[in-house]
């Protein structure tokens, strides 16, 4: 039968570097852990079984937080995707749980049928189906692996605080690099190239004028991708497109004035930055733990036409200024 590997609770400098690289979307394709059963510490057949996904960052943080807790770690095959996303996609599932437990010969190592599944896995794992189909008793553990120690100490019980997702400043900031990297992917790279060309054509040979569209775009990306997540609770409104647009207006106007633009150019730069920041800000909904699909869809239908209109008007203003200029 399958070997049972040892999972160390000590993270190495390589693990730390890999985690920070992943925050910048680097090494994604290598961030897959071998699925199966792992030993943490010196488990006995009566030791608890924790379940997780085979995304490297997830696996690393779980084994770190299991330090001092002799246990079994059952790693499901989620194609290297974290627990919550994989549960939503259906790879972190009741079926995979049962199949992986069987393939790993779990019952040959453990004398009980209790599996501790992270609460956010409940989107994909059904406790009553696991009981009916595999005779397993699923206990939903805490959302955050750092609460596992307190959960175990409390006799495998979660507190209300352990069951509620948070979205602190630090939790938001670590997600921003991926947002920025995402704007440099594929066809989106054509936007800055096009804006440099447009600025050069419309700039009458002035470098500052030529830079205006590109600067407005970059400022818009930063306002939507960094300022909006950072200032999320303090930006007015509930819609992310509105929060992003407001951040973009302020940042775009400031940058355009700093470049010494003509009034029309300031208006154009502000509008373009607002449009871009609104779009990028709205995209941050995908990284938050509280936006509903019904809400995002409603917001998209309202925001996308407004964002497109703002970008078109910005372009028209720049062209008008060229002919006046």
């Amino acid at each position: 039968m399958a070997d049972v590997r040892q999972a160390s609770s000590t993270l190495t400098w390589r693990d730390t570097i890999a985690r920070w690289a992943l925050r910048w979307d680097i090494g994604r394709e290598r961030a897959v852990v071998e699925p199966g059963l792992y030993r943490v510490g010196e488990p006995t057949p009566a030791s608890p079984v924790f379940v997780t996904a085979n995304y490297r960052m997830t696996f690393d943080l779980v084994r770190r937080d299991l330090l001092g807790i002799d246990s079994w770690l059952l790693v499901l095959d989620t194609n290297g995707v974290n627990v919550w996303c994989a549960a939503g996609k259906g790879t972190f599932s009741t079926k995979e749980l049962i199949v992986r437990a069987a393939k790993s010969n779990l019952s040959g190592h453990v004398n009980h049928r209790t599996l501790i599944v992270p609460q956010l896995g409940a989107t994909g794992v059904s406790a009553h189906e696991a009981r009916q189909l595999g005779d397993y008793r699923v206990i939903f553990g805490p959302i955050r692996s750092r609460d596992i120690r307190a959960f175990v100490a409390a006799g495998m019980k979660t507190t209300p605080e352990m069951r509620v997702v948070t979205f602190t400043f630090a939790e938001r900031i670590v997600l921003t690099p991926v947002e920025l990297v995402g704007t440099l992917r594929g066809w989106k790279l054509l936007i800055p190239v096009g804006l440099i060309a447009a600025g050069w054509l419309l700039g009458h040979g002035s470098l500052a004028a030529a830079c205006q569209p590109l600067v407005a775009y970059i400022v818009g990306v930063l306002a939507g991708g960094v300022l909006t997540p950072a200032l999320l609770p303090w930006l007015p409104g509930r819609g992310f497109s509105l929060k992003g647009a407001l951040a973009g207006v302020v940042a775009g106007a400031a940058a355009s004035l700093a470049l010494g633009s003509e009034p029309l150019g300031v208006a154009a730069g502000t509008l373009l930055a607002a449009s871009v920041a609104s779009f990028v800000g709205l995209n941050f909904t995908g990284a938050t733990p509280f936006t509903s699909p019904s809400g995002v869809e409603k917001e998209l239908r309202l925001a996308l036409p407004a964002q497109a209109a703002a970008a078109v008007i910005a372009g028209v203003l720049w062209i008008v200024q060229y002919f006046l200029g």
Partner: protein, 112 residues
């Protein structure tokens, strides 16, 4: 959730109180404390606007008392779905929010 609110009046969550047996599994899986216990030891929806439609409650209700349209509250996924004429899709996990979310640490990213 503390300090954060998204659009109100849109969540598709519905609880059929007649089917509810009071097993309270929904209370234990909801990441936004949408449900609360009633005096007769059943459950009611206390905070519908906090619902992000993750679907964990419906998935774990053995009595079919909960219905909703689960999905990803992600603009890119919804746009992808519109462009391809499919369900919302955040891709294959290579890149993007789902690819890099530090989920174990508190799994604070990318709902799905």
């Amino acid at each position: 959730m503390r300090g954060f609110r998204y659009l109100s009046g849109v969540a598709s969550l519905k609880l059929n109180a007649e089917k509810c047996t009071g097993c309270r599994v929904c209370l234990s899986v909801c990441p936004h404390a949408v449900f609360t216990e009633t005096d007769d030891r059943r459950v009611r929806v206390a905070d519908l606007d906090a619902c992000m439609e993750c679907g964990a409650c419906a998935k774990n209700c053995a009595f079919g008392a909960i219905s909703l349209k689960p999905g990803v509250g992600c603009a890119e996924a919804i746009i992808n779905g519109w462009l391809r004429g499919t369900e919302p899709s955040c891709g294959d996990g290579s890149g993007g929010c789902c690819g890099t979310a530090p989920m174990a640490e508190g799994e604070p990213a990318a709902p799905a």
